[in-house]
């Protein structure tokens, strides 16, 4: 398999891959949010695995969660309760939204993995005190891992991990730029590469992505003829969406997603105290709506992204019952309206709406652009 196939394959079959890693003696730590300080997990010699939650067969979660809980949280809980995550050595819960917060409690009380940690990050990321607290939280997490696995995480371990992550993140950004400028790789593939990078062994992921960058930089291509759009929301694990957007005559040239630019934007300083550098990156990165930087940063960022990449419209992709994103939507839409950038909202649950219906919605929107 070539690098693209390997990344696509692990993105599509994360559980099979994780089980094989475990069979080879790896301890696997599951996580749910792009604010997880994965770098420390990797530095500990453990394998961080992003969990997206089952799309169907989520009945086991019904005994713990009401119907008005988002599909991400419901899917994750049903995965763990039905034994589909038995390969995990543990899980880590960064402070995100109210729902993930309670998922952490329910998970802790209903599972018996070796390791469990809450990483209670600050919510406001505007002050020196919150930056110092963030450093403290990362230090505490490092200690929790050391204690939980009877290991020592050295600064050199952290530096090495940081270099790996910087390599992954800069390659992903280069691939996004290549897509935006030359149409290669395809938008759906990009999504698979990001998700694959959250599953695959990180050193291998860094190598595979470098390989892709090298291969694709040398290839000739031309940008898609589709109208350029930005995808904005939380997570997207539906490669079909990109295909349908393409069929509707548009092309996702960039995004503001956890499974996209919010994951790879912002490199970590490779000099000085690695933990301080790590805290700085998480303090300064583009925020998700569950965090606070300034009251207008998310809207400004979205307009800037659209302008920078020549996008003519924005497609909001939101999970039903996701409070932080739903609260920001009216303001983001208004900000885009004022900047003359049309947008559409697609609210989804675990499964996508029927293909025909979705295509019609995308076509209608594309015609407007």
């Amino acid at each position: 398999m070539n690098s693209a196939d390997i990344l696509r394959n692990v993105a599509d079959n994360p559980h099979d891959y994780a089980r094989s890693l475990k069979d080879h003696g790896k301890s696997i730590i599951g996580y749910f949010c792009s604010y997880t300080p994965e770098e420390i997990i990797l530095a500990a010699g453990l394998h961080p695995l992003r969990l997206f939650g089952a799309k169907d067969d989520t009945g086991t979660a019904d005994a713990h969660l009401q119907a008005y809980c988002c599909s991400l949280v419901r899917g994750a809980l049903s995965d763990v309760l039905s034994g589909r995550l038995s390969y995990l050595a543990g899980a880590v819960f960064p402070h995100t939204c109210d729902s993930i917060q309670r998922l952490s409690d329910i998970w802790r009380l209903n599972t018996t993995f070796r390791f469990f940690a809450d990483v209670v990050l600050p919510v406001k990321l505007t002050t020196e005190s919150s930056r110092l607290y963030l450093e403290d939280v990362l230090r505490k997490f490092r200690g929790d891992l050391e204690e939980g696995f009877s290991i020592t995480i050295t600064d050199d371990d952290l530096r090495s991990s940081i270099r790996t992550y910087n390599s992954i993140r800069s390659s992903l950004k280069t691939l996004y730029s290549l897509h935006s400028r030359r149409g290669l790789p395809g938008a759906g593939d990009l999504n698979a590469f990001v998700r694959g990078s959250m599953v695959l062994d990180r050193v291998e992921a860094a190598n595979r992505l470098s390989d892709l960058v090298e291969t694709l930089t040398g290839s000739t291509g031309s940008p898609s003829s589709g109208k350029k759009v930005i995808l904005a929301g939380s997570v997207c694990e539906h490669p079909d969406i990109y295909r349908l957007i393409e069929r509707a005559g548009a092309d996702v040239v960039w995004d503001d997603m956890c499974t996209g630019s919010r994951y790879f934007e912002g490199l970590i300083d490779e000099h000085g105290d690695p933990l301080v550098a790590l805290a700085q990156r998480y303090h300064d990165r583009v925020i998700c709506p569950a965090k606070h930087s300034s009251v207008r940063s998310r809207g400004d960022n979205l307009v800037n992204l659209a302008r920078e990449h020549g996008a003519r419209g924005v497609i909001f992709l939101q999970l039903k019952f996701c409070d932080p994103h739903s609260f920001d939507y009216p303001y983001l839409k208004e900000t885009l309206d004022k900047a003359g950038i049309p947008s559409m909202l697609l609210e989804i649950e675990a499964q996508l709406p029927p293909e025909g219906q979705l295509l019609t919605r995308f076509e209608t929107f594309t015609h407007m652009l």
Binding site: Q101, R102, V120, Y133, V295, D323, F327, Y331
Partner: protein, 410 residues
């Protein structure tokens, strides 16, 4: 199913006094721009005492939300917010309040315009988003008091972070008000706040008496003052009066439910637009909701307050509140309430408007059933949006639940 007139409990004397105080308070707040006072909008779990020290009038969109709900205006206002793009799945307090600000509606002609916004996220992540909306709309300074969630502990690193924010809060207020923070006054306000909380706890504790002189529905009403004006003498005097009235009722054998046979515990915020209906429905079964986890939250972290150093101890007291802790610790609090108030069953309001309060209820219910062996029922609603409530379905559930309690207790 309404209670016969002769069985209706006597009205509380204190209710009239409370209405007077709240009217005065709102007049004061609404005329602040003429009297030169500053107005701060603050979340219900936020540290209000420093505002009192600075003579800033605290105004509570959540208290206003309750007013909207109780006046049955929630549905219309929520629909207005939905027309503005806010999802119907969002908190109905927030939707209704945002609609009031953006569309100029709601009871008492709307809230007075804020000079500043104080958002403490110890109750939910929703308030952060809600106050960001207001900060953009009113274009006034926003102070976020960030209280790390205490799933299993309140580590020193969190204590240090919150304590630093108290200093930042004071600096923010000094800048906004253009005057220094008076430390001596702060001590006095702290003392009054703690005294107010003690008295509120004592009022709630009076319902531990069998039969109870008050119900949780009374607590929902009398709660307003400990939320809004904590740290003032008005609150201390008022709850002293209310406590005296409770004790008189116990002496004179005036019970909230004349033939109280069953004692229940309520969980989560009230269903504001069905208070009377719920009260009557349970009363018709001779069931008294003797206590609740919601109104108790305003005196639940007294154990962390240092009487001699109120200011510093606010860091812990405001972080370790009921909604900012893990569900196992919440369950422990409930177990203690079940014993204290001698409860026969639990009514859990599964509140679509409040995910941090509601997710975890199923696990807590199981813990209660395992540990305490009492029946629990769930009522589902959006606390402030009457369009989401099914009265007939709820009535059927209550009947079945009460049947279970009766069979168990006899």
């Amino acid at each position: 199913m309404s209670t016969p007139e002769k069985d209706k409990p006597k009205k509380f004397r204190a209710a009239k006094r409370m209405r007077e105080i709240m009217t005065e308070y709102y007049i004061d707040a609404k005329t602040a721009s003429q009297t030169g006072k500053k107005v701060a909008w603050i979340t219900s779990g936020g540290p209000v005492e420093p505002l009192i020290v600075m003579d800033v009038i605290p105004v509570y969109p959540e208290n206003y939300g309750a007013m909207i709900g109780a006046s049955h205006m929630g549905g219309d206002l929520c629909a207005k917010a939905e027309a503005l793009g806010y999802s119907t799945d969002l908190c109905s307090y927030a939707r209704a309040d945002i609609a009031c600000s953006l569309e100029n509606g709601g009871p008492i002609g709307g809230l007075p315009r804020p000079d500043m916004l104080i958002c403490c996220n110890n109750i939910c992540g929703t308030v952060l988003k809600w106050y960001e909306v207001h900060a953009r709309y009113f274009n006034v300074p926003l102070f976020i008091f960030d209280t790390p969630f205490c799933h299993t502990e309140f580590p020193d690193i969190a204590r240090r972070y919150v304590r630093r924010q108290l200093d930042e809060y004071v600096a923010f207020l000094e800048k906004a008000c253009g005057k220094p923070f008076d430390q001596a006054r702060s001590m006095e306000v702290g003392r009054l706040s703690l005294e107010g909380q003690r008295l509120w706890q004592a009022v709630l504790d009076s319902a531990a008496h069998k039969p109870a002189p008050m119900t949780a529905f009374d607590a929902f009403f009398f709660l307003a003052l400990i939320v809004t004006l904590r740290g003032t003498k008005t609150v201390v005097d008022f709850y002293q009066e209310l406590l005296t009235e409770m004790n008189e009722r116990i002496e004179q054998k005036i019970w909230a439910i004349p033939n109280e046979r069953y004692r229940l515990l309520w969980d989560n915020l009230p269903v504001w637009y069905r208070l009377k209906w719920l009260s009557d429905t349970f009363a018709a079964h001779d069931a008294c909701l003797v206590a609740d986890t919601y109104t108790t939250a305003w005196c639940g972290s007294m154990k962390y307050i240092d009487e001699n150093n109120f200011f510093d101890s606010m860091a812990e007291a405001y972080t370790r509140i009921y909604l900012n802790i893990g569900i196992d610790e919440m369950a422990e609090t409930i177990f203690a309430m079940i014993d204290k108030y001698q409860v026969d069953g639990m009514v859990m309001h599964s509140n679509r408007s409040c995910k941090p309060y509601s997710f975890g209820q199923y696990d807590i219910r199981k813990m209660i059933q395992d540990r305490k062996g009492i029946p629990c029922m769930l009522i589902e609603s959006h606390m402030n949006d009457e369009r989401s409530f099914s009265e007939s379905q709820t009535a059927t559930r209550i009947d079945a639940f009460m049947e279970m309690i009766k069979q168990k207790k006899g």
